[in-house]
């Protein structure tokens, strides 16, 4: 059993990933009519989500979702849910690879063909998803620890930068008297869904060690990141400027100026650690998917896993070929809605199971 800090790493990874996967852009679509209220609503719902998930998973130590559901819900429902979440986690990973290859093409290697980048990523990911679950958690730890100083650095730079338009930030706050919009809300709630990988990782992480103050700390940190995610780009690009950028956060970091480093543009350092953490997140997603597949007990003999993985490769390649750069944002809006729905489903199922367990005992 691993300690509680690994849960925090999972949560953190989810937080920082939002930069690459268009969460700020989707929020800025409604920046004049409802984003602020959506963020407030997302903070409330996200807090409840974290609390419920921690409570329920702590009741089922060392169990994955299959062991939690077995004998408590009908067999067909359990299998259906596992297949559903398997597909969900697979799609998450697939969509994130597509976004990541776009980032690489735009910012790092414009000359390298898109498909070449994609296949390098795929090779690494396939190599990594078949490793042991604990090993992947150790990798997560390494990546998160190396990511934290850079996030701090950017934040300190923001708070000490004299060129930030503070007025734009105040101006954006004035648009709070609007009803929350569903797309903005689902994008903002994604920040808080870092716990949902636990359907597999609960087997290895001891959730009981997580105290109330840890939950509050995680929650406050989530709020902080969500707010910085939304307000820092406005401070640099202006309220009217933010919706125009494609990768708004990367453009924002590029407009920060550093005189005293080897590297003039800090964007590269951010990009490198961002690619690191995104790759680890994708690996975790697909690993979750493969592990869920193992719980289905299809006479599991190693062969089936490779069939599933080759299926992953084929479908992702098709998605990668067919998807148009302009449509990615649209797919991400759809994905966040779908993601919010799946997490709602997870919470309902877990609450049902825990109530049933309480009645049985």
């Amino acid at each position: 059993m691993l300690g509680k800090r690994y849960v925090i790493y999972l949560f953190y990874l989810n937080l920082v990933l939002c930069i690459t996967v268009f969460v700020p852009q989707i929020l800025y679509k409604n920046s004049l009519n409802g984003s602020i209220s959506s963020i407030c609503l997302a903070i409330i719902v996200g807090g409840c989500f974290i609390y419920v998930l921690q409570k329920v998973f702590a009741q089922f130590p060392e169990q994955n979702i299959n062991q939690i559901l077995i004998h408590k819900v009908p067999n067909w429902l359990r299998k259906l849910y596992i297949i559903y979440s398997l597909i969900f986690w697979y799609l998450t990973g697939a969509l994130f690879i597509v976004a990541l290859t776009q980032v690489v093409k735009l910012f790092i290697n414009p000359e390298t063909p898109l498909m070449l980048t994609y296949f390098i990523f795929l090779a690494l990911i396939i190599f990594a998803i078949v490793l042991k679950t604990k090993s992947l958690l150790y990798v997560t730890e390494l990546v998160v620890i190396s990511h934290i100083p850079i996030v701090l650095f950017v934040n300190i730079r923001f708070f000490s930068d004299p060129y930030v338009f503070k007025d734009s930030i105040y101006q954006s706050l004035t648009y709070f008297k609007h009803f929350p919009k569903i797309n903005s809300f689902t994008a903002a709630i994604f920040v808080f869904t870092g716990f949902s990988n636990l359907i597999v990782f609960n087997e290895k992480i001891n959730m009981k060690l997580i105290k109330k103050r840890d939950i509050i700390g995680i929650f406050l940190f989530g709020i902080f990141v969500l707010l910085t995610l939304y307000f820092i780009p406005i401070g640099y690009l202006g309220l009217k400027g933010v919706p125009k950028a494609v990768f708004v956060w990367l453009s924002t970091v590029d407009s920060m100026h550093f005189d005293y480093l080897f590297v003039e543009r800090i964007i590269y350092i951010i990009l490198f650690v961002q690619i690191f953490s995104s790759l680890v997140y994708i690996i975790l997603c697909w690993h979750t998917s493969v592990e869920l597949f193992k719980t289905l007990n299809l006479n599991y003999g190693g062969m089936y896993k490779w069939i599933l993985i080759s299926f992953f490769i084929c479908v992702t390649t098709i998605i990668q070929i067919l998807i148009r750069e302009l449509d990615i944002l649209k797919y991400f809006i759809m994905f966040f809605n779908y993601c919010a729905f799946s997490n709602l489903l997870l919470v309902i199922l877990l609450l049902y199971v825990s109530i049933k367990k309480r009645h049985a005992s």
Partner: protein
């Protein structure tokens, strides 16, 4: 008397002598006692004296004798190199300790500034003597196995029964018992057999020649394996970061030792990543650097006719040749080899315009930082691991560096040493 706590050790000896239907019994640990002295001072007189009372008087004339009744104290005395002699239900303890110092040589591979200087010995009993004399606890267990169908090499396993995890112990002992090999001659060979994989780069066991490192690891619950004939000990389960600790860190004050450890980690990062990042930045994304710096590098490369990866591979291979040459040559010639190789070749290569000046600086930094890794086995592994990253960097630029580094990290994190994780930042207990 049973001496239950130490009787299973293979160096524990019990000898009974008989004269006129009366018994005397000796108990001692032969690794810390001088057996010659025992024969000379205790056994021969026993047969020479006519009566037991005379022998008793003789015993009481020996230096360092004592009468002891408690078993715990006796065990402690034995660990200190005393012989316990049971005569008419009276227990004498007599100091006949043997602290090998004449046969002990200084450790040559792992140098320290201020720590103890001794190195282990190829003779197991001398090594055991050194370890026992540094770790006087009755929980230290010594077990002997014989490995090799033809060489019949003695392999000794040491551990502290209170601190060891039973799974780790079982894992190792089963592996040693299951070894199928004709000739076993060294620790490195044993490590290879224990890992038992075809492709292996990183050492999963710590190899050391220092008894103080052995004792340090014993006290933190590790298992030590000694092999007859080599002055090295295998320590397992090891973690990646154990290879970056020098025994000087124990001697130095805490902040200094933390500083030294972190310097070694920085050196590791530099030696692994700097050549690859250089290639990636020069060939793919020079816009990363400050303008003046980028121009400086471009200026130094103005006469170089090759792409940067050929330049760096050429120079890094030269550095490897230099290391190999100075390693195998006799000491008197090796200094001239380094002069020719390092000074003359480096200087003229840059004057002839074959490599940029900055490239020579980069390769030298990489070589120097490689040398700061304290343990040789890890040093060699790091030497090898740089090349795949350089190749990836020259194929895909920064992306290649990221992907290959992450791949190596995943591989490292997936390794297990005796069932324990090999590469974790913090302790997981």
């Amino acid at each position: 008397m049973r001496f239950r706590s130490i009787q299973n050790n293979y160096d524990f000896q019990k000898k009974s002598l008989k004269k006129y239907d009366r018994n005397i019994t000796f108990y001692f640990l032969d690794s810390v006692c001088d057996e010659k002295k025992i024969t000379q001072l205790l056994i021969t007189p026993f047969y020479e004296y006519e009566s037991f009372s005379l022998y008793k008087n003789y015993l009481e004339s020996l230096p360092g004798w004592e009468i002891i009744s408690e078993e715990a104290i006796m065990v402690e005395k034995m660990l200190n190199g005393n012989v316990i002699l049971n005569l008419d239900n009276i227990n004498y303890s007599i100091t006949l300790s043997n602290y090998s110092s004449s046969a002990v040589s200084e450790s040559t591979e792992e140098n320290v500034l201020q720590g103890p200087k001794d190195g282990l010995n190829g003779n197991i009993s001398i090594s055991l003597n050194m370890i026992r004399n540094r770790y006087k606890k009755n929980t230290l267990q010594v077990e002997k196995y014989i490995v090799g169908s033809q060489s019949k090499t003695n392999v000794v396993v040491l551990y502290d029964t209170n601190l060891i995890e039973i799974n780790v112990y079982r894992n190792l002992v089963e592996k040693i018992k299951g070894l199928n090999v004709e000739v076993l001659q060294s620790c490195g060979q044993l490590q290879k057999l224990l890992i038992n994989k075809k492709w292996m780069l990183f050492p999963l066991f710590l190899t050391t020649e220092r008894p103080d490192r052995v004792v340090n690891n014993l006290s933190s619950g590790k298992i030590i394996v000694l092999v007859e004939g080599t002055p090295w000990a295998l320590i397992g389960p090891a973690t990646f970061f154990d290879f970056f600790k020098s025994m000087d860190d124990v001697v130095q004050l805490s902040i200094v030792s933390k500083f030294l450890t972190s310097i070694r980690i920085v050196a590791l990062l530099i030696t692994v990543l700097l050549p690859a990042i250089y290639v990636a930045v020069i060939s793919y994304s020079p816009e990363v650097l400050q303008v003046q710096f980028a121009l400086l590098i471009a200026g130094s490369r103005i006469s170089v006719p090759f792409p940067s990866y050929i330049e760096i591979l050429f120079l890094m291979l030269m550095a490897e040749f230099l290391i190999e040459a100075s390693l195998r040559l006799p000491k008197t010639i090796s200094s001239s080899a380094t002069t020719v190789g390092g000074l003359i070749l480096g200087q003229t290569a840059s004057q002839a315009g074959l490599v940029g000046d900055i490239m020579i600086i980069v390769v030298s930094i990489v070589a120097i930082s490689l040398f700061s890794i304290p343990i040789n086995a890890m040093h060699q592994a790091i030497r090898v691991i740089r090349y795949p990253i350089i190749i990836f960097a020259s194929l895909f630029g920064m992306l290649g560096v990221i992907v290959s580094t992450l791949g190596i990290l995943c591989y490292l994190c997936n390794l297990r040493s005796l069932g324990k994780p090999y590469f974790t930042l913090f302790n997981n207990s």
